[in-house]
């Protein structure tokens, strides 16, 4: 039976191969859906192989109840969450799933730690310990440090993406704070160093569970303090980095339980996630170091001293009459108000009147890269009409009207000055259009906390109100023309 069990390891090789092709294919639009299928298939193979291996080992599976109950419950919850989530809530869900992955790795490490340290054979085995026998002990500590940090960090990131939370048993909505004085970086460094020292201490004193719980505590705190100072606009980068961390946690757990597929898949996701983080940083023209350690936005919000008279939809409809080119600039406000279908209807009306309509997509519009693409796709906007920032920016000078719906920081000309929280971030040149129509609830500052000069320009028409309501009124005003 031993040979069969060892042969099953080939299954892990198949599974790892499927993961490699899966990730590779997810990077290209044509092959992405297939890539996702390959990934899922690889995971299915890994689970089946593991269950078979356990059944064929001496004594077979002893914990059937736990395994079936756990898989069933997890699959039901996962299915329910993934299928019921609104597309606007998708970024938060990815952050939450990521936290669960990190927590699972950390829990496995803790479970193994309890087993090792409470087993009698452990006492017997200690004298014959070789240096390489210490690896699992080291891995338990490392997995705990990375895993719990991933969980708490992801939870904070999720609440930041939501913008806040409702206090339980009350109706009160609280905005999630962004807080991080510069001295906090020393606290974080100190905690991280403390965690590393405790991991090294477990090598001399592997039976000491107090040390393990110490690492868990330090790690939980680190995750919170790590994400707390980072502004919502940078959250995509943070979630991507946390995704990389959850992969690394899984790889460390692989060293704990001595399983190669965990090591391969975990370290591969860890490395690929890190590269994706850098790609995202580049799209935002930000340095990863600045994102993580220089508090950005939220903490020092500019107070507003200027006012602007709002326009009404009829006025805007008249301006739109007879134009030849219109570019729509969507932002998070469109996602929140769920007005993508109305935006599509707006574009349809204009196109019937021979207006050239396209959409300018900022790489970080919304709360996730690609967020706008998914929403507009849901509203059946043709793919080729969504144009990325770099390609469309030159077209604004010949564009009659730019319609900005729920975007702020991504069109703020203050970013061009190279100073302030937005300094250096590439923006959509909406201000170069003939007339700029901005649909927004108020003049309030965006995530970066910077006032937007564009709002106050003479050629700018502000439509103050909820995106859905304003688009509905604008569309009916257009139809009446």
């Amino acid at each position: 039976m031993v040979e069969v069990s060892s042969l099953l390891d080939i299954g892990y090789l198949i599974s790892a191969t499927l993961f490699i092709f899966g990730i590779k294919m997810l990077g290209s639009p044509k092959t992405a859906p297939k890539g996702n299928m390959y990934g899922a298939l690889g995971m299915f193979v890994a689970v089946i192989v593991t269950v078979l291996k356990m059944q064929l080992s001496d004594g077979g599976i002893e914990g059937w109840m736990w395994i079936i109950l756990g898989l069933g419950l997890g699959a039901a919850i996962g299915y329910w969450m993934a299928t019921t989530v609104e597309m606007t809530g998708m970024p938060e869900l990815v952050a939450l799933f990521n936290g669960f992955g990190g927590a699972a790795s950390a829990l496995v490490a803790l479970s193994e730690a309890l087993k090792v340290y409470t087993s009698e054979t452990y006492e017997l085995a200690t004298p014959i310990f070789q240096v390489y026998h210490l690896i699992p002990i080291l891995a338990i500590g490392a997995s705990a440090l990375v895993g719990w940090m991933t969980l708490t960090g992801s939870l904070v990131a999720m609440f930041k993406l939501k913008g806040g939370f409702t206090i339980p048993f009350t109706e009160k909505w609280v905005r999630f704070p962004t807080w991080g004085p510069s001295w906090l970086n020393y606290v974080k460094s100190g905690l991280f160093l403390g965690g590393l020292i405790m991991i090294i201490m477990t090598l001399n004193d592997p039976g000491n569970l107090g040390l393990i719980y110490g690492i868990v505590g330090v790690s939980c705190l680190l995750g919170i303090l790590f994400v707390l100072p980072i502004g919502g606009a940078d959250m995509p980068v943070v979630v991507s980095l946390l995704n990389s961390l959850s992969g690394i946690a899984a790889a460390f757990t692989g060293f704990v339980v001595g399983n190669t597929v965990l090591i391969i898949a975990g370290s591969m996701v860890g490395a690929a996630g890190l590269i994706l983080t850098f790609i995202m940083c580049k799209a935002m023209n930000r340095e990863l170091f600045d994102v993580l350690f220089k508090a950005f936005g939220g903490s020092t919000k500019e107070s507003l001293t200027r006012t602007k008279v709002g326009s009404d939809p009829e006025e805007v409809a008249m301006v739109l009459d007879g134009i030849s080119k219109c570019i729509i600039v969507p932002g998070y406000g469109m996602a929140v108000s769920q007005s993508q279908h109305l935006v599509k209807e707006f574009a349809d009306i204009l196109e019937e009147n021979d207006v050239d309509v396209s959409y300018a997509i900022h790489p970080v519009a919304g709360r996730m890269p690609g967020h706008m693409n998914v929403l507009l796709a849901e509203a059946n906007v043709p793919y080729e009409k969504l144009i990325e920032m770099d390609e469309i920016n030159s077209e604004f000078s010949e564009c009659d009207v730019a319609l900005v719906i729920g975007a702020n920081d991504t069109i703020n000309p203050a970013a061009r000055s190279g100073e302030g929280p937005l300094g250096g971030m590439p923006i959509i040149d909406a201000d170069k259009a003939g007339v700029v129509v901005i649909i927004k609830r108020s003049l309030s500052v965006g995530y970066a906390g910077v006032d937007n000069d564009l709002f106050y320009e003479d050629k700018t028409m502000m439509l103050f109100g909820d995106g859905k309501k304003m688009m509905t009124e604008l569309n009916s005003a257009l139809k009446e023309l």
Partner: protein
């Protein structure tokens, strides 16, 4: 103890695992280079689902007849990892279906 330590009872086993670890990291670095912004979120979400591979570790850890703390922790690990895996692949699929549906609508 031997069951827990598994392949690390030999020096060869450990070196082999370390080799696999290092090579997989290099592979991960090379695997993605130019990714269009549209696919950043689905790629992140798909990779995240794959990091739910800790489901394998959780299954191994839960294989115990005793209902002690270690087994209960492993049970929760199975639940969380399965949510990550099932939910992660499904939500990625939903995102990708929309991107694909959009292309069909356009042609």
């Amino acid at each position: 103890m031997s069951e827990v330590l598994g392949i690390f009872m030999t020096l060869e086993g450990f070196i082999l695992s370390l080799t696999v670890f290092a090579l997989a990291i290099f592979l991960g670095f090379e695997l993605i280079s130019k990714v269009p912004a549209t696919l950043h979120t689905p790629l992140m979400s798909g990779a995240n689902a794959i990091s739910g591979i800790s489901i394998v570790g959780a299954l191994l850890a839960a294989n115990s007849g005793e209902a002690n703390t270690a087994t209960i922790l492993a049970f929760f690990a199975i639940v969380l990892a399965t949510i990550n895996v099932v939910g992660g692949f499904l939500v990625t699929n939903r995102m990708l279906q929309m991107i694909r549906g959009k292309k069909r609508g356009g042609n």
